[in-house]
């Protein structure tokens, strides 16, 4: 598999404060990568840099295109960013119109638009809000609508910047599973919540602009000391797993509660 994103010795600062200094990272096509770190680690800055929001960084290459003024629009066509803050930039009167807005702009056939819309609506279970005013939605619902508007465009890369915090666990699980199933999608999931990295193949721990740990997710999850040091809370099941493993009561990380109970009392 080839690298779809290559960052080579990127530096970036706000005023006098360096967020990244000689930062390098490669991401393979169609992989699912999580980047986890505490507040101020550079996560959101990285997300914005990837879509050229903070500067047009020629240290970044995406789909073999070096980021520059000329390439930026082509790059943005295939990369979607879902931000952490509630999206209040809706343009349409109803949720349905909002979601298909991008596709309509591309001049697609109505029947194709309808088909894509139905698929997304079914996945995100948002049929009950389709005819409501997007501004009357709750924070979590707004997030689902912005996600739907992005997914419907069939991006090749999706960058999720701590966007699912207000979405309940079951819906979140469904979304991650769906994203993972997509054969031609590279997912970069940026978060400070360990539970959000479980679905990814590879996890990177970021702190103060540096990569502390990078590896297969299950291996990285064992780094409880690193998580503690940088102030990332261990979710209950992971914490329990690692401690029970230390006591020799289980021999691997078990994140599912039923599985754990059955493993302990076989």
């Amino acid at each position: 598999m080839k690298d779809i994103i290559v960052i080579d010795k990127l530096s970036f600062r706000y005023d006098n404060k360096y967020i990244f200094n000689n930062f390098s990272l490669k991401i393979k096509e169609n992989s699912f990568v999580s980047i986890i770190g505490p507040n101020g680690s550079g996560k959101s800055t990285l997300a914005k840099l990837l879509v050229g929001l903070l500067k047009v960084a020629d240290e970044i290459t995406i789909f073999d295109l070096i980021m520059n003024e000329k390439n930026l629009n082509d790059i943005r066509k295939d990369i979607a960013l879902i931000m952490d803050t509630t999206n209040d930039c809706f343009v349409a009167e109803t949720v349905a119109d909002e979601i298909v807005f991008g596709l309509e702009n591309l001049g697609l056939k109505n029947s194709d638009i309808k088909k894509r819309l139905d698929e997304i609506v079914k996945l995100l279970k948002i049929d009950s809000i389709l005819n409501t005013d997007p501004y009357s939605l709750s924070g979590g619902e707004k997030k689902l609508v912005s996600l739907a508007s992005s997914l419907i465009m069939n991006p090749k890369i999706i960058v999720i910047d701590d966007a699912f915090e207000m979405i309940d666990k079951e819906t979140k699980e469904k979304i991650f599973k769906y994203l993972k199933q997509q054969k031609k999608l590279t997912i970069i999931n940026i978060t400070h919540n360990i539970e959000d990295v479980y679905y990814s193949d590879r996890t990177i721990i970021l702190n103060q602009g540096d990569i502390l740990v990078d590896g297969p997710t299950l291996k990285v999850l064992e780094q409880d000391k690193v998580f503690n040091r940088i102030g990332i809370e261990l979710p209950f099941m992971l914490d329990l797993s690692l401690k029970l493993k230390l006591y020799g009561l289980v021999d691997k990380i078990i994140l599912d509660m039923n599985e754990m109970v059955n493993e302990l009392w076989k």
């Binding site: 505490p38 109803t94 005013d133 709750s138 401690k243 509660m257």
Partner: protein, 276 residues
């Protein structure tokens, strides 16, 4: 200050084709000087309820009594203003609503808006900064250039500055990591214990609820489906538990083993060790 909510309903886009029911005949009593947690899935009406308690919106039906003021369709502008002074609302991602160049201007904005005397203004700003654990050196700083945790604290200080008796926090820990979350929890506790504020926390963070609330209200599709003391919720079946309690309950259900109820993972593991 006590809050009493009677038969409260709220519709967005009332009497249009886009009408949407957000709250449906709600009755709640919130006694003074306690911490109440309001929990529910997205779309359950949590934020709408917060905005009604702060008189940002007018009820479609029913009323909200805040001390001696009654918020209903008949309320006048003077009373609305009074309610907003008595009830401070720390919104979701409050730091996104900064619009001043210095922390001093940002925090004192509400005071100026409420026509407080200007000579006391600086002292009040410093006092509110101290309440959130920051010092005077912050006054001249640019709020946009602070860290995310500091921004949240400044946003809280800008509500504390006008000394509201009731403070509503809408998702106070959202977007913050563990350390910052703990800091916010400590501040909220102090506001209750030391300054005797009545506090309402709207959240979907179950651990936060169990850590600091005295009472929990559960909303579902605009209705109250549960209201009770946090200490009693442990034995009820209606709401989401912290995972540690879920685990203990599951062991009981599946294996018939009684593990001791605890909030501490080390104690739990010792107990598991005894029973395996």
């Amino acid at each position: 200050m006590e809050i009493k909510i009677e038969n409260l309903s709220y519709y967005y886009n009332e009497k249009t084709s886009l009408q949407k029911k957000a709250l449906d005949d709600i009755n709640i009593t919130i006694e003074k000087n306690i911490i109440t947690g309001i929990i529910g899935k997205y779309g359950s009406g949590k934020t709408t309820l917060a905005e009604l308690m702060n008189a940002l919106m007018i009820p479609s039906k029913g009323n909200v009594k805040i001390g001696k003021y009654v918020l209903d369709k008949q309320i006048n502008n003077k009373d609305i203003k009074e309610i907003r002074k008595k009830v401070g609302l720390v919104m979701q991602f409050p730091e996104e609503q900064f619009f001043n160049q210095t922390v001093l201007e940002e925090i004192s904005f509400a005071l100026k808006n409420f026509n407080y005397k200007v000579d006391k203004l600086y002292k009040q700003v410093i006092d509110s900064l101290k309440m959130v654990g920051l010092d005077e050196t912050y006054t001249e700083r640019n709020p946009y250039k602070l860290s995310s945790g500091e921004k949240r604290l400044i946003a809280i200080a800008s509500v504390l500055v006008f000394n509201p008796q009731v403070i509503i926090f809408d998702e106070p820990t959202i977007g913050l990591d563990y350390k910052k979350k703990k800091q916010i929890i400590a501040i909220i506790k102090m506001l209750k214990d030391k300054y005797h504020k009545t506090i309402i926390i709207i959240t979907h963070d179950v651990d936060l609820l169990y850590a600091i609330t005295d009472q929990i209200i559960v909303l579902e599709q605009g209705k109250v489906i549960y209201q009770g003391l946090t200490s009693k919720v442990f034995s009820s079946q209606t709401i989401v538990f912290p995972q540690i309690i879920q685990f203990i309950n599951l062991v009981k259900k599946e294996k018939g083993i009684d593990l001791e109820k605890t909030n501490n993972i080390k104690d739990l593991i010792k107990d598991v060790y005894r029973h395996v």
